[in-house]
């Protein structure tokens, strides 16, 4: 018995030792914390290593909300040096918690003014729009016009056609709720709550996540459901063309009521490598990374000098009037809006 016990103790010690040695490697390393949807092509982060001699180690959280909570929890001793992927719905809280060190990225002048944040606490890296996606064929077979404004969906003719994501469990779901709040306002004769009541009357289908909405309930593109209208992204038709090897997009978007999600990167307060972290933020806004963003994550590069891949040039639409909401306003009201929304749809 004693021998096997000793063997196990040695094994445990060895395991812990492996853990240590994995932590402090010989070469210099910088840690990038991001969310679960982060994807990057092979060789992109290696360019940074070639330029600086520093390896980028990426750790991922399940989703943006989890990532921000984790960053707040560990702010006295951050796990990472740079945080990337925080969007405008969570930005304000992170700034209030003093998570970031200011940094003026080298290429910041290439970023449209509307995406930037005062004080350069974070740097915009990419953006995308959450928009209604349509299946024109199915709408036509139902004898319906393609709607071109959010308010159209309150019309009884569109009964049973819309599927949306739950805003308390899904990021596009929250974006769509915010879009309706911005569009219809919080008071007045037809506020957002009244609009949602009409959507409920019109049998809106609410599902927990994007993939259930798009793949499960939506009839267009690669969806296999029967609802012709879904809350998705402005780039979803582009992805359909690209992965389906098609000539034309099988789906379209409604340009009214789109909500812009901007993703930022920032240097985490408490990093022991501020200069390198700043260099990494600069790198994220340079061409090597920016040109990889469209086909990896199906969002637009924030650096407006970036050349887009052909499929984006031919098929992508950037909705002109996309809604950009003040992050502080979102943060102040999110909990209350979600609670109100829940009572309306219940």
């Amino acid at each position: 018995m004693n021998r096997s016990l000793a063997g196990l103790l040695i094994a445990v010690i060895a395991l812990v030792a492996t853990g240590c040695s994995a932590g402090d490697t010989e070469t210099e390393e910088i840690v990038l914390m991001t969310h679960g949807s982060f994807v990057v092509s092979d060789g992109v982060l290696e360019v940074f290593a070639e330029e600086t001699g520093i390896t980028v180690s990426v750790i991922q959280s399940a989703d943006a909300g989890t990532m921000v909570s984790q960053a707040i929890l560990t702010k006295d001793n951050p796990v990472a040096d740079v945080l990337y992927g925080i969007d405008n719905t969570f930005l304000s809280r992170a700034i209030d918690e003093d998570l970031f060190l200011p940094h003026r990225a080298a290429a910041i002048d290439t970023v449209p003014e509307s995406l930037r944040v005062q004080g350069d606490l974070v740097t915009p890296i990419d953006f995308g729009d959450v928009c209604l996606n349509l299946d024109p064929d199915r709408l036509e077979s139902l004898g319906l016009e393609s709607p071109d404004r959010l308010v159209d969906l309150a019309d009884g003719a569109y009964r049973g056609t819309l599927v949306v994501e739950d805003p308390s469990t899904s990021s596009p779901g929250l974006a769509f709720l915010l879009a309706t709040i911005a569009t219809f306002g919080e008071d007045g004769t037809y506020p957002w709550q009244a609009y949602w009541r009409d959507l409920v009357t019109n049998d809106v289908r609410i599902v927990p996540g994007w993939d259930q909405a798009y793949y499960g309930e939506f009839s267009g593109g690669s969806g296999s459901g029967d609802r012709p209208i879904v809350v998705s992204y402005a780039t979803s038709p582009v992805a359909e063309v690209y992965f389906g090897d098609l000539d034309a997009a099988p789906t379209t978007i409604v340009e009214d009521g789109c909500f812009r999600q901007v993703e930022y990167a920032g240097i985490l307060n408490g990093t022991k490598a501020e200069a390198t972290a700043g260099r990494l933020v600069d790198f994220l806004l340079e061409h090597t990374f920016q040109e990889d963003v469209p086909l990896s994550m199906f969002v637009f590069p924030a650096n407006s000098d970036t050349s887009l891949p052909g499929v984006f040039v031919d098929h992508a639409v950037i909705p002109a009037g996309s809604i950009l909401m003040d992050p502080a306003h979102i943060d102040e009201n999110r909990e209350q809006w979600l609670a109100e929304w829940a009572t309306v749809v219940r």
Partner: protein, 539 residues
């Protein structure tokens, strides 16, 4: 109790592991959440007590878990019985299939359930957003626990006991109720406890199949912590969840202790036989039909989806996985994904089997309160929310060595969940090992170590194989911890599936990847099955 000192020494390893990787992170995160500025946040508890939504979430969490457990046990027992007692064509294939649901990511199960129970259902039902979809999903996931957990004891119980009762004139049902059931009780309660903990902390199933009216504490903790950044409320809910789990585990501990008797165990090769009567054949057919409906239908749907393309059935999606026609980093090479998955699974199995076995020996050797408390604490990680443990790692494990970004945490997190499986499958068998056998060996001059190695170990190793198989399944299917500290370069199969399901156009490839995951699970299950078969001959 001459054996006391080595038991205490042996208890040190699992205690240290659990203390450092569970109790310490848990206490730290709850303290961080509940005592934010040096003051205890009583308001969070007040909020839970006064908010009717929270009360209904707590109530729903409890009753759906109880109902899921009862259903899973009722449906699992006949299946455990036929696999334990009969030899029939396809037995090992069928038994291996039942493990597959256990590893499937919930997103994938959501797809299958929508097809089977949604508007286009072949059974003509639409159960979307109903409690039935959730209950059926819990049965789908957890049947394997009952089939294997009870099966491993059932196949070693001497059928002559039942035969004797029957020859005295007792009917089949009466023999089952009065003879077999009491003998199986420890294993049934063990499996039921695991099913309950899984259902009580259900997360993915609820997120995919639930809706606003059907939410568990687990989901609410996650929502509060990550959507609202309300750490105080999340911690208070975590305490509530922990209290609920502890109470249930204490009740379980009391009931299971009362009956833990010693059974005359036999090698299963002597127990299983071919069905002889029409009734037996009918029973086997009916049970397999039930398994087919619950377990096989969703699997078949997923395989069909992976093969279906706009131009008919083909292997295009599989080919695309191995050789992506479009340059996009979302494609992870399946070989890399399999390699990464195994890199975490193998250490997870080693840790879970080693620590679980040590803990099992301690529990069996320590009668009375000490062993019971030890047992309960070891089960707790299974009943604790993943968010709580994950956040706990982050706030606690930065000293003395910063393990937070270390990949070693992934197999450790998997092992935390898997250890209860190793314990629950080995303890009932260990408790049932005949004392007479050990005493006889001792009389013949064997040392306690020899008795353990030559008498207990062979019998226990079969149960350990079951525990290890579950540990393997938990690790390869796990998504939470893996995505929590994973890196793009170490994407596992579930992570690869998550990516492919994250945007339009790669649905078929996601399904193909899921089929690969199912295939690996099936192969592993059959492999362990055949290993057990050959080894048991020597028992």
């Amino acid at each position: 109790m001459r054996t006391r000192p080595w038991v205490l020494l042996l208890a040190l390893v699992p205690a240290a592991f659990l203390g450092y990787f569970f109790v310490y992170p848990l206490v730290t995160i709850l303290y961080t959440g509940l005592v934010p500025n040096g003051q205890f946040a009583t308001s969070a508890f007040a909020e839970i007590v006064t908010d009717p939504t929270m009360r209904s979430i707590a109530w729903f969490t409890l009753w759906q878990a109880l109902l899921s457990t009862v259903l899973t046990v009722i449906l699992g027992l006949p299946a455990a019985y036929i696999f334990a007692r009969y030899r029939f064509p396809g037995r090992s294939l069928f038994r291996s299939l039942t493990l597959i649901p256990f590893v499937l990511p919930t997103l994938v199960v959501g797809v299958a359930f929508l097809a089977v129970l949604g508007p286009g259902s072949p059974f003509g039902v639409d159960l979307r957003g109903t409690i039935w979809a959730i209950l059926i999903a819990h049965v789908f996931y957890n049947l394997a626990i009952v089939i294997r957990g009870v099966g491993v004891l059932w196949e070693q119980i001497d059928p002559h006991i039942e035969d004797a009762a029957r020859s005295l004139g007792a009917g089949r049902w009466r023999v089952f109720r009065e003879v077999t059931l009491p003998l199986l009780r420890p294993a049934i309660l063990s499996s039921a406890a695991l099913v309950f903990l899984f259902s009580f902390t259900s997360f993915g199933v609820i997120l995919v199949l639930g809706d606003l009216h059907h939410t568990t504490l687990e989901v609410e903790i996650w929502r509060q912590a990550t959507a609202f950044l309300r750490l105080d409320l999340a911690s208070a809910l975590a305490v509530l969840q922990l209290v609920g789990v502890t109470v249930i585990l204490l009740i379980y501990g009391k009931t299971s202790r009362r009956t833990a008797g010693e059974l005359p165990l036999r090698p299963p090769t002597e127990v299983a036989r071919r069905p002889q009567t029409v009734g037996e054949r009918l029973f086997i057919t009916a049970t397999l039909g039930m398994l087919g409906l619950i377990v096989v239908t969703p699997i078949v749907v997923l395989v069909a989806r992976s093969l279906s393309t706009p131009t008919g059935l083909s292997l295009t999606h599989y080919a695309n996985l191995f050789d992506p026609p479009r340059a996009s980093a979302i494609f992870v090479s399946p070989l890399d994904a399999i390699g990464n998955t195994l890199r975490f699974a193998i250490p997870a199995v080693v840790i879970a089997a080693g620590i679980g076995l040590m803990a099992g020996v301690v529990i069996v050797s320590t009668r009375g309160r000490g062993g019971r408390i030890f047992d309960t604490v070891l089960m707790l990680p299974l009943g604790t929310s993943a968010v709580t443990i994950g956040f706990g790692f982050l706030v606690a494990l930065d000293q003395p060595i910063d393990l937070r970004a270390s990949l070693i945490l992934i197999p450790i997190a998997h092992a935390l969940v898997a250890i209860p499986f190793v314990i629950r499958s080995t303890v009932p068998v260990m408790e049932s090992v005949q004392r007479r056998l050990r005493e006889a060996a001792a009389v013949l001059g064997a040392s306690p170590r020899q008795v353990w190695r030559e008498v207990d170990l062979p019998l226990v190793s079969r149960a350990l194989a079951v525990g290890a198989l579950f540990a393997f399944a938990i690790s390869i299917g796990e998504f939470g911890a893996t995505s929590f500290i994973a890196r793009p370069a170490t994407a596992t199969i579930p992570v690869a599936i998550f990516r492919l399901l994250g945007r339009p156009g790669t649905f078929g490839e996601a399904m193909a990847m899921a089929v690969l995951l199912m295939a690996i699970t099936g192969i592993a299950a059959m492999g362990i099955e055949s290993m057990r078969g050959s080894r048991s001959g020597g028992v």
